[in-house]
C-alpha cells in the first residue's frame, strides 16, 4: 500500500495516452475540461474538438502524458464533470488514430520535383502553390507527420499547423453514449 500517486513530470513523460471524451455540446465545456487539466497539473499534448453525429454531443480527443495512475485520475476527474458523458481510453484498444498537417514549405523551382516526390511517397497532396512555396496537406499518424515534417525541413518550412489526433476504435465498437466505459 506504500504506492502513492506521482504526478511528477518524469512520470508524465513515461507514456502517452489518447482518450476521447463525449461531452454535452454546451458553451463552456471546453473551458471546464481545459481548466481541469491545468488545475490538476496534467499536460495536454494535443486536443481536438468537434460535434458528433448527434448535434447535442461534442467529442474531444485528448492526448495526455502520464503513467496509468495519472491516466486513471484524469479519467475519473473528467467523469466527475457534470457535462462529461463518457470517457474512453484508446491506449489498449485497437484504434485508428489520425492527424492532419498543413505545411507551407519553400519550393524553389529546382526543388519542386523532389518535394513532389516526397509528398507522393507520404500520400500527401499539394493544395496550394506560389512562385516560392507549396502548401502540403498530409494525413496520418503522428509518427508519419513527424517524418514528413523532418524531410521537408531541409527545404525550409515557413509555417506548420497540425490538427491534433482524432481517434476511433476499429471494428464495430463505438464510443456512443449508451456504451459502457472502455468498450
Amino acid at each position: 500500500m506504500t504506492n502513492t500517486m506521482s504526478t511528477s513530470i518524469v512520470a508524465q513523460l513515461q507514456q502517452q495516452h489518447t482518450i476521447t471524451a463525449l461531452v454535452e455540446n454546451h458553451a463552456g465545456v471546453l473551458a471546464r475540461v481545459a481548466g481541469l487539466f491545468a488545475r490538476r497539473g496534467y499536460n495536454i499534448e494535443s486536443l481536438a474538438v468537434s460535434v458528433t453525429d448527434k448535434e447535442e454531443i461534442s467529442r474531444m480527443t485528448i492526448v495526455v502524458g502520464g503513467d496509468h495512475r495519472v491516466l486513471e485520475q484524469i479519467t475519473k476527474q473528467l467523469n466527475k464533470l457534470v457535462e462529461v458523458i463518457k470517457v474512453v481510453d484508446y491506449t489498449e484498444t485497437a484504434a485508428v488514430e489520425r492527424e492532419l498537417a498543413l505545411i507551407k514549405v519553400n519550393a524553389e523551382p529546382k526543388d519542386r520535383a523532389e518535394i513532389m516526390q516526397v509528398v507522393e511517397i507520404f500520400r500527401g497532396r499539394i493544395i496550394d502553390m506560389s512562385d516560392k512555396t507549396f502548401i502540403v496537406e498530409v494525413t496520418g499518424s503522428t509518427d508519419k507527420l513527424d517524418k514528413i515534417t523532418h524531410l521537408l525541413e531541409s527545404y525550409g518550412i515557413r509555417e506548420l499547423v497540425r490538427t491534433g489526433i482524432i481517434a476511433m476504435a476499429r471494428g464495430a465498437k463505438t464510443a456512443s453514449r449508451s456504451g459502457r466505459d472502455g468498450e
Binding site: M1, T2, N3, T4, M5, V23, E24, G28, A31, R32, G35, R39, R69, E72, Q73, K76, Q77, N79, K80, L81, V82, E83, V84, I85, K86, R177
Partner: protein, 605 residues
C-alpha cells in the same frame, strides 16, 4: 399563470423546501428582491457582507444536512461569495449560490458590475450555470439543487441575468420536478447496486486483521452513517479515529473513540494508524493534514477505502480494497458480513498509549483555551453546535470539544477559512432554533467577519462567540517559533479593538474573562441571554502552542507531544510495547532538522 423569472425562482425554492435565503441586494438582482418583498414563507436574511451570506448558508447546511442557499448581486456581490463557495467546495457542503448578472445583451461588454462569475467559480463549484433565457430557469434550478445534494455534495452556482429574472412566461409550479435526470451525471446513491464482492473482501481483511483501525471522515457525516460507524466499531471493537470533518461520526466520549488524527491529532490515534495492519477509511480522502509524509503513512497497513467519489480512490493512496458507494449503505451491508471480534491486546496497547499520552494543558490557575473549550462543552451539556474559525483555537476545539453526534461540529477544514466561524454559527442558529450555537473564534479570525454580529442582533440570534484572545495570530506564531527561529513576522495583534465594547456597539452582550472563574461566570451569563449575540473576550497566554504536532510533511516519529507539561518527542517501537523518549534537546534538534528541511524546500522551489 404568467410569472417573472424572479417569481419562478422563488417558486422553485419553495418546491425545494428552502426556508432561508442568506443574501444582499444590488442592481442585477432588483427583480428578485422585488419578488422577495411579497414572499413571506421563505425568510430572507439580510447579511452585512456577501461572504457572510455564503458562510451562513454553509453553516446552515452543515448543521442541518439541507442545501444552504445564498444570494448576491452581480460583480462584487458575486465575487464576495467566492471564498464562501470555495470553503463549501473543499468540504463537500451542499449549497446553491444564486447570483445576479448584467442583462444578457450586456454580457461580455464589461458592463457596470459585470464579472464572469461562472468562469471565476468553475474550479470551486461542483457545477455552475449561466441561465440565458427565462424558459430554462426552473429546469436549471432543479438540476442545481439535485447536483448540490446528490453523490458527493457540493456548491452549485446559478448566474441569472437581469432580463432573465425580469421576463415573464407561463409557469405552472406543479410542473417543477425534484426528480431530475441528467444523462451525463450518475452519482452513486443509497439505492445504487452494492458491490458485494468488494464488501466480502473487506470483511475478510477485517476478520484477518491483528491491528485494525477505523479512520472516518466527513463522508460519514454527509451520508448520515453515524449509527453504522458506531455499530461497526462496537461489533469489531475496532478503535476509531475521525478526521476534522468526521467529528461526530462516533460519539467522542465512546470508549472506542480515539478523537482526531493527523497533524494535531491525538498521539494515540496517530500511533494506532502508524502501526495498524488494516486501515478502514470511511468517507475520508487521505488529506495531507492527516497523512503527513504519504510515503511513510501507515506503511504496514492494508487499506480498505470506502467513498462515494470514485476519483478519491487512488488519488493519494492506492487501496487494497476500494469500495465506491454511499457510506451508510456500504457499511450497513458490510455489517452483515463482519463477525464480532473481542477487544484484544491491540486494544490494550492503544489504551495504554491513551493513558501515557493524554491531551493535556498546564494546571497553573491561568485561563487556557483548552479549559475554556471544556467548560463550554460542560456548560451546554455537550449538546450545543460548535462552530469554529481557523487557527490554534480550531485545533484545540477539535481536540477538547467532544462531539456527541453528527452535525454538531461546524468548521472549515479543507480551505481553512478565517472568518468562517461567526457567520457559519449564525447560519447554524437559523437552522437549529432549539439548539445553542457557540462560535469559537480567535482574535485574528473574529476580525475578518465581525460585521455579521449586526445580522445576529437584527434577527435576535443568541450565538455565543468565545474569542480565544492570545493577542496574536497564534498558529502562524507557533510555526514561526518552531520553524523560523522565533522570527515573529507580522503576527502581533496587541492592537485590537475592545471586543466587549465592540459587541455592545453591535447591540449584543460583551463579556470578558481573564481567569477560569471569570470564564465560568461569563458562560453562565451568556447562557441566560437568548435574544441577542454574546461575545466573550477570553484572554489567554500568547505563548501556548498546539500539541501534539506532527510537523508538515513529516511522520508520526517526528510527533511532538506534551507529557507532564514537558515537551517531548514521543515514539514507540514497532512492536508497540516499549517506549523511548527524547527530551527537550532532541526536540530542539528536531526543530533544527525541520527548519533545515523547510529551508531546503524553499531553495529547491
Amino acid at each position: 399563470m404568467k410569472l417573472s423569472g424572479a417569481q419562478i425562482l422563488l417558486e422553485c425554492l419553495r418546491q425545494e423546501e428552502v426556508t432561508h435565503i442568506f443574501g444582499y441586494p444590488g442592481g442585477a438582482v432588483l427583480p428578485i428582491y422585488d419578488a422577495i418583498f411579497d414572499c413571506h414563507d421563505i425568510k430572507h436574511i439580510l447579511v452585512r457582507h456577501e461572504q457572510g451570506a455564503a458562510h451562513m448558508a454553509d453553516g446552515f447546511a452543515r448543521s442541518t444536512g439541507k442545501v444552504g442557499v445564498c444570494l448576491a448581486t452581480s460583480g462584487p456581490g458575486a465575487t464576495n461569495l467566492v471564498t464562501g463557495i470555495a470553503t463549501a467546495y473543499m468540504d463537500s457542503i451542499p449549497m446553491v449560490a444564486i447570483t445576479g448578472q448584467v442583462r444578457t445583451s450586456a454580457i461580455g461588454k464589461d458592463a457596470f458590475q459585470e464579472a464572469d462569475i461562472t468562469g471565476i467559480t468553475m474550479p470551486i463549484t461542483k457545477h455552475n450555470f449561466l441561465v440565458k433565457k427565462v424558459e430554462d430557469l426552473a429546469g436549471v434550478l432543479a438540476e442545481a439543487f439535485y447536483i448540490a445534494r446528490s453523490g458527493r455534495p457540493g456548491p452549485v452556482l446559478v448566474d441569472i441575468p437581469l432580463d432573465v429574472s425580469k421576463n415573464q412566461i407561463e409557469f405552472d409550479p406543479a410542473s417543477y420536478s425534484k426528480q431530475v435526470i441528467i444523462p451525463s451525471y450518475k452519482p452513486a446513491s443509497p439505492s445504487s447496486r452494492i458491490p458485494e464482492l468488494q464488501i466480502r473482501k473487506a470483511a475478510t481483511l477485517i476478520a484477518e486483521a491483528q491491528r485494525p483501525v477505523l479512520y472516518v471522515g466527513g463522508g460519514a457525516i454527509a451520508s448520515g452513517a453515524q449509527e453504522e460507524v458506531t455499530a461497526l466499531a462496537e461489533r469489531t471493537n475496532i478503535l476509531t479515529t475521525t478526521t476534522l470533518l468526521g467529528k461526530g461520526a462516533i460519539d467522542e466520549t465512546h470508549s472506542l473513540s480515539m478523537g482526531m488524527l493527523g497533524m494535531h491529532g491525538t498521539a494515540y490515534a496517530n500511533h494506532a494508524v502508524n502501526q495498524a495492519d488494516l486501515l478502514i477509511a470511511v468517507g475520508a480522502r487521505f488529506d495531507d493534514r492527516v497523512t503527513g509524509n504519504v510515503d511513510k503513512f501507515a506503511t504496514g497497513a492494508k487499506i480498505i477505502h470506502i467513498d462515494i467519489d470514485p476519483a478519491e480512490i487512488g488519488k493519494v493512496i492506492q487501496p487494497d480494497v476500494p469500495i465506491v458507494g454511499d457510506v451508510k449503505a456500504i457499511l450497513a451491508e458490510l455489517l452483515k458480513h463482519v463477525a464480532p471480534r473481542p477487544a484484544d491486546a491491540w486494544n490494550d496497547t492503544i489504551m495504554e498509549w491513551k493513558r501515557r499520552f493524554p491531551l493535556s494543558y498546564p494546571d497553573d490557575g491561568k485561563l487556557y483555551a483548552e479549559y475554556a473549550i471544556q467548560q463550554i462543552g460542560e456548560m451546554f451539556d455537550h449538546d450545543c453546535i460548535m462552530a469554529t474559525d481557523v487557527g490554534q483555537h480550531q485545533m484545540w476545539a477539535a481536540q477538547y470539544f467532544k462531539c456527541r453526534r453528527p452535525r454538531q461540529w461546524v468548521t472549515s477544514g479543507g480551505l481553512g477559512t478565517m472568518g468562517f466561524g461567526l457567520p457559519a454559527a449564525i447560519g447554524a442558529q437559523f437552522g437549529n432554533p432549539d439548539k445553542r450555537v457557540i462560535c469559537l473564534s480567535g482574535d485574528g479570525s473574529f476580525q475578518m467577519m465581525t460585521q455579521e454580529l449586526m445580522t445576529a442582533t437584527v434577527y435576535a440570534q443568541p450565538v455565543v462567540t468565545v474569542i480565544i484572545n492570545n493577542k496574536s495570530l497564534g498558529m502562524v506564531r507557533q510555526w514561526q517559533e518552531m520553524f523560523y527561529s522565533e522570527r515573529y513576522s507580522q503576527v502581533d495583534l496587541q492592537a485590537s479593538p475592545d471586543f466587549v465594547k465592540l459587541c455592545e456597539a453591535y447591540g449584543g452582550v460583551g463579556l470578558r474573562a481573564t481567569t477560569p472563574a471569570e470564564l465560568r461566570d461569563a458562560l453562565v451569563k451568556a447562557k441566560a441571554v437568548t435574544d441577542r449575540p454574546v461575545v466573550i473576550d477570553c484572554v489567554v497566554p500568547t505563548e501556548e502552542n498546539v500539541y501534539p504536532m506532527i510537523p508538515s510533511g513529516q511522520t508520526v516519529s517526528e510527533m511532538l507531544v506534551k507529557t507532564d507539561l514537558e515537551l517531548v518527542k514521543a515514539s514507540v517501537h514497532a512492536d508497540g510495547s516499549e517506549w523511548s523518549f527524547s527530551h527537550e534537546e532532541a526536540v530542539l534538534a528536531q526543530y533544527v532538522e525541520v527548519a533545515n528541511a523547510v529551508a531546503l524546500e524553499a531553495t529547491e522551489a
